[in-house]
């Protein structure tokens, strides 16, 4: 018998699968069922949409742009109401301040209280648009001064001065203190929104004109449908013959893409696409159900080309990618933002709130798994609020497709994380489970409250539970080490400090993000005694450490912790020094994928950031070398920590060993997350 505890469980586990636990009475109903609230819809098989979402590739990152997304680019009938931004800034955001740590707000560095600084951070982050009466005027000016093409940043700044005076008293002055690039970004976004709001009438006019154009493609609709119908039948027949190999899968995926090809790439593309989508949705689902959508492999030239043509965000690929990582997208940074900004008016399919979040992802204003997830969900909330079911369509299908298109937009801005994938899966399953009897407004309200509940239960409350558990592992005299900046770890440290525990914190940080400094500042403000070092010194500092607390982007079902790059290094050093490594991770970030290395799924950051140090001219030896043929720069964002180096995972279900992650995924992945 293998004495190792990591021995494959199936080898020894005597009763497979549905082992009833403990003291089971033969006739008794399963004990589990009554722990959750009784849910009549529960036992019914999950409906097709959620099913398809479920069988998305195990990676959870929906393929950037495939057919449905393409077809979904439909004209939104109504534009955002002017209330949108206000409600975004005001509604419920304040309680999530913890997840939006200071990066967006170096505005008040000397601020004494943590919470007030947080509030300020929020302010500049979700720019607060006061309901100024002259909004329309400003926006009108903006709209008129920027006819469609690129934005002139200087001109924009000038206008923003005017706009800031009238529109938002809080947002602009705060963000002006940030670094130059951020100012540009946030102002741009800011302006764009304002313009959008004010220019609503103009866009609506455009909508109407497109509406009139809609008459033309309608004639071809029947033909297209017939064509697709026949293709589908042929495919189904082929599948029935048992041809389920991956070859078939790709052909299935590829063909409809070709079928969709006639979609003109000109201005009325969106209109045409929207026409088609209604008819094409169900087969789309069928296909997804049968074949897990393969992830986009970015070393596949032809597919990348195709995806690019469909993409909203025009990304230029960095040239010299490291050999092992060619399958991951890597873009040259800095070029997309102005381009996207200029597109703001053209992008009917993307809701402005989603657009804003996308831009914030792109510029790096929002980072951290929880912050990104909350921002995304709040944007979706806005989008759902403003959503109208198009005539002759059902909410369930149309909204799912729409959310899908938002997701693929966000995915273009920055590859979505596993936790976001889980959250999206939750939302889609909620949409799919909406009772058909619900009216449109009721359905929207129910979805919005679902989102609200997800944020509060799965993120905010989960963090509270994690803090409660983890604090019991901090004793007086401890030296705690943390790496980077994790919102959960931060709350644990602050709470332990509030409880009066005497301990010291070592914050380990790494270039290029230096997020640890933000954590450090917040801890220092609260009066914790801290030590700050870079990861280079981790092997030295580890001997005095008694506990290592780490955050995680995700925990995979073999116990692998997928987290900010460098985490594996810290965990391994801690393991070598026999220091317990405690990973704090909410259960919504768990995923049933198994990953053994950091290569097959990861994210590549901007290679320029590691090749030169901003503001240090003397060490920029690599200036201009980035494009040299025989230099490959690798800026990896995540890494995978094997479960052997993890002593414990603290989650909302308590403290569990890494080997129990699959149990939680199995037991709660469906029931709890999808309530």
């Amino acid at each position: 018998m293998d004495p190792s505890r990591r021995a494959p469980r199936s080898a020894i586990d005597p009763v497979p699968k549905f082992r009833q636990v403990g003291f089971f009475t033969p006739g008794a109903p399963p004990e589990r069922s009554q722990s959750g609230p009784p849910d009549p819809t529960h036992s019914t098989p999950v409906s097709d949409v959620s099913q398809s979402a479920n069988s998305l590739s195990p990676v959870m990152i929906p393929p950037p742009r495939h057919l449905s997304d393409n077809l979904v680019i439909n004209a939104r009938p109504t534009l955002a109401s002017p209330l949108r931004a206000d409600s975004l800034a005001g509604g419920g955001v304040s309680s999530f301040g913890d997840f939006f740590p200071a990066p967006m707000s170096p505005a008040t560095p000397a601020s004494s209280s943590y919470s007030s600084r947080m509030a300020a951070g929020e302010g500049s982050f979700f720019e607060r648009h006061g309901g100024g009466g002259d909004k329309g005027n400003n926006a009108g000016k903006v709209a008129s001064s920027f006819p469609r093409g690129g934005f002139d940043l200087t001109a924009m700044k000038k206008v923003s001065g005017i706009g800031g005076g009238g529109g938002s008293g809080v947002g602009v002055p705060a963000s002006e203190l940030t670094t130059v690039s951020v100012v540009n970004d946030s102002l741009a976004i800011h302006e764009k929104e304002k313009a959008n709001r004010g220019g609503g009438s103009a866009v609506e006019a455009k909508d109407q004109s497109t509406g009139s154009k809609q008459q033309k493609p309608k004639t071809t609709k029947a033909e297209r449908r017939a064509l697709q119908e026949s293709q589908r039948a042929a495919k189904a027949a082929a599948k029935a013959e048992g041809n389920k190999a991956s070859g078939a899968a790709t052909s299935v995926n590829a063909k409809p893409a070709k079928a969709a090809k006639p979609t003109p790439k000109v201005d009325n593309a969106a209109v045409a696409a929207s026409e088609k989508k209604g008819g094409d949705c169900p087969p789309e689902k069928d296909r997804k159900k049968d074949v897990p959508q393969p992830r986009m492999q970015y070393d596949d030239k032809s597919r990348v080309e195709k995806a690019k043509r469909r993409a909203v965000v025009k990304q230029t690929e960095a040239r010299n990618r490291v050999e092992l990582f060619r399958h991951l997208p890597q873009y040259e940074h800095g070029s997309q933002l102005p381009d996207l900004e200029s597109k703001f008016f053209h992008l009917d399919p993307v809701h402005p709130a989603v657009y804003k979040v996308g831009l914030q992802y792109l510029s790096g204003d929002i980072c951290g798994a929880n912050a990104r997830c909350i921002a995304m969900f709040q944007a979706f909330q806005e989008a759902i609020k403003d959503y109208r079911v198009p005539p002759e369509k059902t909410l369930v299908r149309d909204l799912t497709a729409k959310i899908g298109s938002y997701v693929s937009f966000l995915n273009e801005c920055r590859p979505i994380s596993i936790s976001m994938g889980n959250a999206i899966r939750f939302l889609k399953s909620r949409i799919a489970k909406l009772p058909l009897t619900l009216s449109e407004s009721e359905a929207k309200v129910s979805l919005q409250s679902d989102i609200e509940r997800f944020i509060s239960e799965k993120i905010v409350l989960a963090n509270k539970v994690i803090v409660k558990h983890a604090v019991t592992k901090i004793r007086d005299g401890d030296v705690l080490l943390t790496y980077g900046s994790s919102s959960a770890v931060e709350m644990i440290l602050l709470h332990a400090h509030e409880l009066g525990k005497q301990f010291r914190v070592v914050v380990v940080d790494s270039r290029p993000k230096l997020r640890g400094q933000l954590l450090l500042r917040r801890l220092l403000e609260k009066g914790l005694s801290c030590e700050y070092t870079h990861i280079n010194a981790v092997s030295y500092i580890m001997h005095e450490v008694t506990r290592v607390f780490l955050g995680a982007s995700s925990v995979l079902s073999n116990g692998t912790v997928y987290s900010r790059v460098g985490t594996a290094c810290v965990a391994m050093v801690a393991h070598a020094f026999r220091v317990p490594v405690i990973v704090c991770c909410e259960a919504y970030k768990f995923h049933d994928r198994v990953q053994l290395d950091s290569i097959c799924s990861n994210e590549l950051g901007d290679p320029d950031i590691i090749s030169n140090v901003r503001g240090r001219e003397d060490v920029n030896y690599l200036d201009g070398w980035a494009n040299v043929e025989n230099l490959q720069l690798l800026n990896l964002i995540y890494d995978a920590t094997p479960s052997d180096y993890v002593s414990m995972i603290v989650t909302d279900y308590g403290m569990v060993p890494p080997t129990s992650v699959p149990v939680i995924v199995r037991e709660y992945g469906r029931e709890q997350v999808w309530i």
């Binding site: 018998m1 005597p14 636990v21 403990g22 004990e31 069922s33 308590g654 080997t659 149990v663």
Partner: protein
């Protein structure tokens, strides 16, 4: 407690392994007085007045019941607690499910506070609450049938717990082969049951017993085994590594099985497990499932210490400190298999079972 330096855990063990002394009985009596008089921890105020067992049934005390069960030889403390809790349901005057549940809760709390250092007692009370009160039918039935259902489940749980030892003994027979040498540490009734059954099955094996300082539990076990005509050899605790060469497997009991899959057991288990692992000998743990506790110690100091007196035979200068802890934590990587009444488990399955039992 009579002596603050000695925890209740150790006194319980003394009671089980030695004769029931007068002063132990007195101590149990005083504990029962202390724990039953205060009102239940924090139920809603209106319910508290109704549910407090002392108001309704001054004659019935869960602690008395517990002690009555405990007097039975060979009945584990945790099983006694389970029996006592079942008696609480039976004698309850509650008229609603809520009342009954609160009553049960306060009874289990008083049992738990009777000995906070005993892991199996706490775990058994928690498991009882989980197992008994979590039935789907409760909401739909009228009170009396629900109550009888609870009693039924409680008895069943008691029965399962009572027979657990036999189940474990049966399961572990496959692992004891003819001609093997087994190293045993401490006195565990489960391990004794296992070896007894193996002897009855005419298996030929040899047992090495550690001495088990300071309370000489190994001596007691060797006496029991000698009665069964099993060849036994006593080794002093420090000779474990010396004898490990000739050992085929290590068999230990457990005070508690924790969420990581590790065990908390009598002092010395950890080092024996380490020696065994370094010499690639399997370490088997026999433990009933009511010892599964929702604890997750990260290291040895992460436990509530259970203290015991250590007698060195000679006076110790007052300046010299003595380590009095009675048990240690063995991490899961040093254990091979756990024999429980749920089956033969790897350490990592413990957490799965716990998650399923508790959440």
């Amino acid at each position: 407690m009579a002596d603050p330096k000695i925890s209740a855990y150790y006194q319980t063990r003394m009671a089980h392994f030695g004769a029931v002394t007068n002063d132990w009985l007195a101590q149990a009596q005083s504990a029962s007085v202390i724990t039953t008089t205060p009102p239940p921890p924090s139920p809603p105020p209106t319910a508290a007045t109704l549910s407090d067992p002392s108001h309704q049934k001054p004659s019935f005390s869960v602690i008395d019941e517990f002690n009555r069960w405990r007097k039975q030889p060979d009945l584990a403390e945790a099983v006694a607690a389970i029996r006592a809790l079942a008696a609480v349901i039976r004698s309850s005057m509650a008229t609603t499910m809520m009342q009954l549940e609160i009553e049960l809760k306060s009874a289990s709390d008083s049992l738990k506070s009777w000995d906070t250092t005993s892991i199996s007692l706490t775990a058994a009370c928690d498991l009882f609450m989980r197992y008994v009160t979590r039935t789907a039918a409760l909401e739909y039935e009228d009170f009396n049938s629900a109550k009888s259902r609870l009693i039924e489940r409680a008895d069943k749980f008691g029965e399962i717990s009572y027979t657990a030892r036999k189940v474990i003994a049966m399961l572990s027979q496959d692992f004891i082969f003819n001609g093997c040498t087994i190293l045993v540490h401490g006195f565990s009734r489960v391990v004794l049951e296992v070896l007894k059954l193996a002897a009855q099955n005419k298996k030929l094996f040899r047992v090495l017993c550690t001495e088990g300082r300071p309370d000489r539990t190994g001596l007691r076990l060797s006496n029991e085994l000698a009665k069964l005509d099993v060849p036994v050899k006593l080794v002093i605790d420090s000779a474990v590594a010396y004898t490990m060469d000739e050992v085929d497997m290590v068999f230990v009991g457990a005070d508690g099985v924790v969420e990581s899959g590790g065990i908390i057991n009598m002092m010395g288990t950890y080092q024996i497990a380490m020696v065994a692992k370094s010499m690639s000998k399997p370490v088997y743990v026999a433990a009933e499932s009511y010892k599964f506790a929702r604890l997750y110690p990260l290291d040895q100091k992460d436990l509530a210490p259970a203290l015991r007196p250590v007698d060195f035979g000679v006076p110790i200068p007052s300046k010299v400190e003595v380590e009095c802890s009675a048990r240690d934590y063995t991490p899961p990587q040093y254990l091979t298999l756990l024999f429980t009444d749920l089956g033969v488990l790897t350490p990592s399955v413990v957490s799965d079972e716990l998650i399923q039992l508790y959440l």
